[in-house]
Amino acid sequence: MLHVENLCFEYDEGLKTIDHISFHVEKGSYTTILGHNGSGKSTIAKLVIGLLAASQGHIEVGGIPLSVETLNDVRKQVGIVFQNPDNQFIGSTVRDDIAFGLENLCVPHDEMEGIIQEYAKKVNMLDFLDHEPTKLSGGQKQRVAIAGILAMNPHLIILDEATSMLDPKGRKEINELVRSLNQKNHMTILSITHDIEEAAKSDHVILLEKGHIIDEGAPENVLSDTKRIRDLGLDVPFAYQVSEELIKRGIPVEKTLDTEKLVKALCQLHSKM
């Protein structure tokens, strides 16, 4: 779905923000790019949709090589949701906002209302069509932003830290929505995040540090080196931290990402006493 080869980009001369990056996002997959603030994650997203121009390299979306001439064709395939939905609202009502993208795609007016209803329903915002987007809660805003993107029927959705400013409840809602889009609608998802729990549940993880890809693969392989995860400024899942510390104190448990498993193991030890 997305093919990136030998990509380079610099904001300042000589200071490479993106340094010879190559990766591939499978059609229908849920891929996460994991890295701390300033590792170049968001820059990649902007390069892929042509908001920034690469100094070197090659990007291909759905078989179309990205260039000045193909920019519109590429953008039709890609929907992007940014961290702060406030930067993304155009319309004065939720309905107008979802309609904006459709108008740009020249969707006939009489088809529009049906599409708007369909996607507002999908993100559970049907009751809010006449509300002003800026007056919604963070989770609701982000859902409206996603509905606006979905209505344009992209093949690839890029989430650029789309849940990082939401409260825990809002985050859960969005994560569930995205997961179901991936599983039920087979939409390709590229999520840029520093949420290790989200990365752990994805198909493919790309680990980014200072503009380089330092590792990629299945989450259980990429995330198992806790020292590296810590050095990258990311969180180690709680159960993993506890099991690691217990082992250091000579308590015979196995390293695990799963809290329930750890509780079970400890209770067995306790009952044997």
Binding site: N37, N84, V242
Partner: protein
């Protein structure tokens, strides 16, 4: 500096058709030197409350007292300037408020505004930049070419440069990566340890457990609860009703205790947790 609210009410758009009462009969006393979390749903009045602490909002009725400053409706606004220096308010996404050409100019803007000499303000800028984890090489750079997390640090350095006694923070770690969030919270903890007062709006109960000593729960414009952090996390039903998740650690202790362990519920750090588990297993 202690903070006291007495019967504070606040109405947006008072005496207009769109009048909206955001605070209702708020009574509150925050001790000097405490680190207090402010939690509650969107629209519960948290932001309105914190804007009273440096008199950005003046109560519609009632009285706010910050150490010896009284803020009431009749107080002349120009008398409030010294308070603004003492209580530093950091809004959500403070990086949007950066505006100067260089980071040095941005950080010195606040102190210069309060009459500090240029030399001294520059010295302060250097110190504060280091405190937020950025070195001197950043001074001459433009704040706009930094990453989101770095901008946040610069914005907070700008507040610290005014030498406030109270730091009021509206979700200071939103959007930061885990290490960045930890660095910020450690910084606020150090600020508290130097005898100063911190009030922080947060949604992350893991942060609340680890860093704060008191917690205020806002609901529908009122202070519903004000207690020690460990006491809040004992009230399972109440938390559920507010749809607040337990911190991972408290939840873990809960699960162990349901299965025969007797681990202290108030534990808020990994070392103590591991010691207690080890202790019970070796008894």
């Amino acid at each position: 500096m202690s903070i006291t609210f007495e019967n504070v009410e606040y109405i947006y758009g008072e005496e207009t058709p769109i009048a909206y009462q955001a605070l209702k009969g708020v009574n509150l006393h925050v001790e000097k030197g405490s680190f207090t979390a402010l939690i509650g749903h969107t629209g519960s009045g948290k932001s309105t409350l914190i804007q009273h602490i440096n008199a950005l909002l003046i109560p519609s009725s009632g009285k706010v007292t910050i150490e010896d400053f009284e803020i009431t409706r009749t107080k002349k606004p120009q008398l409030l300037k010294p308070l603004r220096k003492k209580a530093g308010l950091v809004f959500q996404f403070p990086e949007y408020q950066l505006f100067e050409e260089t980071i040095e100019k941005d950080i010195t803007f606040g102190p210069r505004n309060f009459g500090v000499s240029e030399e001294e303000a520059k010295q302060k800028a250097r110190e504060c930049l280091l405190r937020v984890g950025l070195d001197e090489s950043y001074l001459e750079r433009s704040p706009f070419e930094l990453s989101g997390g770095q901008k946040r640090r610069v914005a907070i350095a700008g507040i610290l440069a005014m030498d406030p006694d109270i730091l009021v923070l509206d979700e200071p770690t939103a959007g930061l990566d885990p290490q960045g969030a930890k660095d910020m919270l450690d910084l606020f903890k150090d600020f508290q340890k130097s005898g100063k007062t911190v009030i922080m709006v947060s949604h992350d109960m893991n942060h609340v457990l680890k860093y704060c000593d008191h917690v205020i729960v806002m609901n529908k414009g009122q202070v519903e609860k004000h207690c020690r952090v460990e006491d809040l996390f004992k009230e399972r039903d109440y938390l559920q009703q507010l749809s607040i998740d337990l911190p991972l650690m408290t939840d873990f202790i809960d699960k162990l205790n349901k299965n025969g362990f007797h681990i202290d519920h108030a534990i808020n750090n990994m070392d103590d947790l591991i010691k207690e588990i080890g202790g019970e297993l070796h008894e």
